[in-house]
């Protein structure tokens, strides 16, 4: 880190002038993306991801990290993002390093460095601590706060649900895992696009979600499966006030009113931990299924509903990397009420089997 914070803007202007002298790309920015790398090893990952985001959406990115130290300080590095290693410039790449008490100064400095009059999006890289003042202080000024529940424990759904309620209305909370679920949600939704299949909805008795558990995972479900279940329970009109859990080897079942929801482990080495491998809904005489195939990117959609024959469909859902998910989140930096509802209901249902956070906070 070589720059004082007040030298960042002049340095960026100088770099852009150099670019202009070479007949390079114009300076454009759609937003400021702040990545808070909570642990030092996450720094490189955050830098790689924001560089890919900037290649799609020219923007200013600020990766902030912190380390122990006696003296409080914040220093910076400033460079330009490029579309390819030798290609056109496509944004400002700032890295802030805080040492010691300098971490406390980060929120104000991020505010100073954000692009004028454009949205500020904050991505918390990695797991979210149970309570972190820095997170709250940065979130206050952000238009969009992005987390990844996929890197958290099941109990953290409740933490996210609480953050959602806590942050102000003009800030949107979103989740990379929610965007990862989107194609599967779309496939589930298309089961019920016609009247005949829609009629089966009220009699769905069984809903099974298979997921790839993390090594040594003791949680009843992955956060991804929990979030998906919350979304489906919400669509099925379930409330989640009274739930009864049952547990066996490699499976957990929850009974909510007429519905039995089952979370099953399916170990696969070729998909990320937490990923969904199969979703099945069953009722009298009808079966709706989305199933991941041997090729982990291929899904088979099939529906057997009386009076509505339709051949199965094979579709490719490319496993999105972190930058693709982040780009999706950034496409619409606004509150997503469906995410919030799914999160609230999902966390309410699973808190019984992931009680640690609740007891600590309630107690």
């Amino acid at each position: 880190m070589r720059l004082a914070l007040d030298a960042v803007e002049p340095e960026l202007s100088r770099l852009w002038q150099e670019e202009a002298d070479k007949g390079g790309a114009p300076r454009i920015g759609l937003f400021t993306l702040v990545a808070l790398a909570s642990e030092l090893p996450l720094l490189g990952r955050a830098q790689g991801v924001v560089a890919e985001v900037a290649a799609t959406y020219p923007s200013r990115t600020i990766v902030a990290m912190w380390r122990q130290g006696v003296d409080a300080a914040v220093t910076a590095d400033a460079a330009l993002h490029r579309i390819t290693a030798t290609g056109a410039a496509c944004g400002d790449a700032i890295v802030l390093e805080a040492t010691g008490g300098g971490r406390e100064w980060l929120p104000e400095n991020l505010g100073h460095l954000a692009l004028t009059d454009l949205p500020m999006c904050v991505w918390w890289v990695g797991d979210l601590p149970d309570f972190d003042k820095l997170f709250d202080r940065v979130a206050v000024d952000a238009d969009l706060v992005i987390v990844n529940s996929g890197e958290m424990d099941l109990r953290d759904l409740e933490k996210l649900s609480m953050i959602c309620k806590r942050i102000r209305d003009s800030t949107a909370l979103t989740d990379l895992t929610w965007f990862r679920l989107r194609p599967v949600q779309e496939l589930i939704a298309r089961f019920f696009d016609d009247e005949t299949a829609l009629a089966c909805l009220t009699s769905i008795e069984r809903l099974t979600i298979e997921f790839n558990p993390r090594d040594g995972d003791v949680d009843a479900a992955s956060t991804q499966a929990g979030l998906l279940f919350g979304w489906m329970a919400n669509a099925l009109g379930l409330k989640g006030d009274t739930v009864a859990w049952n547990r066996g080897s490699g499976w957990n079942e929850v009974t909510i009113g007429r519905l039995v929801g089952r979370f099953e482990h399916r170990h696969r080495d070729d998909v990320p931990p937490g990923s969904i491998s199969r979703v099945t809904m069953e009722c009298d005489g009808a079966r709706f299924e989305v199933e991941r195939q041997e090729d982990p990117q291929l899904f088979k959609w099939s529906r057997e509903a009386p009076g509505a024959p339709v051949p199965p469909q094979t579709l490719r859902i490319k496993t999105p990397d972190e930058s693709t998910l982040l780009i999706r989140c950034l496409e619409r930096p606004k509150r997503d009420l469906l995410y919030e509802k799914s999160l609230h209901l999902g966390s309410k249902i699973v808190r019984v089997v992931a009680p640690r956070l609740s007891t600590r906070i309630d107690g």
Binding site: I28, E186, R190, L236, V310, R316
Partner: protein, 519 residues
Amino acid sequence: MTDNPFRAGLETERTPQPCVFVIFGASGDLTRRKLIPALYNLAVSRLLPPGMTILGFALTESSEDQFRANMREAVAQFSRRKPIDEAVWADFASRLHYVSGKFEVPESYQRLLAKLEKLDKTNGTRGNRIYYLAIPPSAFRAVNDNLSAGGLVSNDADRYTRIIIEKPFGRDLASANALNADLHRVFTESQIFRIDHYLGKETVQNLVALRFGNTIFEPLWNRNHIDHVQVTVAEDIGVEGRGKFYEEAGASRDIVQNHLLQLLMVTAMEPPVAFTADEVRDEKVKVLRALKPILGDDVARLTVRGQYAPGHFAGKPAPAYREEPNVSPTSNVETFVAMRLEIDNWRFAGVPIYIRAGKRLAKRTTEISVHFKHVPHALLKHDRLAATPGETSDGSRVEPDVLAIRIQPDEGIGLRFVAKVPGPTMTLRPVTMDFRYGSTFGGSGPEAYERLILDALLGDPTLFARADEVSAAWRFMTPILEAWEKSPPAGYPNYAAGTWGPAAASDLIERDGRAWRRL
């Protein structure tokens, strides 16, 4: 769809209801180049519904396997996504079917109907049909009548039939009206989707966003601030093996009557009350109704036509139009058109619109440029500028501002305005601010045919031409075409391939004290 609780609040791409998509002319060029690649790309994007079925129909005898093999080649060659995704292709190919028959023969339609009913049973397409007519215009009528006589058209609440047709929508006002009347005997207007692929282009839709999604442009978008507008649709290629078609069409029928007037409509329309099909199209057609007719002597004064002579392009010799295959050596067909138009309405009265379109021009570019008025008063006259509005003391003019909307290539928007050159004197210089979709949003959007086919599957006709638009466009063009026919052009060919058209096109604008934008 709206009752499906899994759709509530879910921001997903739109997925249409399943149907059988019947392509008439399935062995033709358009099917290979555009339709099947677009449908395949929709399948890759997971935008085709389960059960969606594609049924090819054409004269050539072919087995379904052979048809699938041909279509695979077409996808491999023309799809924007390469290489072919084998798993998606296998699924897509299982939905491809083929029936051979003759458009004029009723029995062919009985075979078609039997096949459709069978597919409805196995694929859950529930009687929903889209007929895509990728056929010569001479066959429209036979297909239309036989579809009706064969009982292949319905518009019940629980199943739909739609028809998509390709330009040309007639050759003149009378034939366009006759075609519309034929179609309306069988289909209601809401079932008819007339494709103009320009409307499927992202940038044309972005023109709507630019005008109506911002507040800073619309207050200036009128006669008080706009000096004139230029619309250019320039191609650098020749007729590329389509000589036979072009001999019938010419630049006016190929480009001006449809694409160019569509661009003009979107540029000049009033804000619609909603972005819905009829609201948008109501406003668009009003622009055409307000176009001042070009009649009598005005045809010679306000229009220019041309045909290319030999020349060179990209460092290679380029032949004359009359030397192209399937073109008559004495052809009088125009390969270039320029016109000076006026829109007689409150917003644009007195604002000239200069349009030009042609083949074998210097560059491939499609652009709309809005040229604003000169500054009304030379504010800095005591320094370097003189008293005449917009003129500097040395007599040169301060360049007026220009907003340019580039449709292709390099889709984007450029704004030219004047800035002071750094230094002790007040020297002004035009500068440009350039916005490019490609570098701002990364990646490429769907191709026009993908967007338009998806809209037709969803039953959204906003980006398709309505009957009254087509008629109004022909009402404007027909007197010009008739006048041209009565007085054959003198001096053809009149521009060298690889240039910006005949000298008369420059005169057309220069006599008003203006010039074509350098592109």
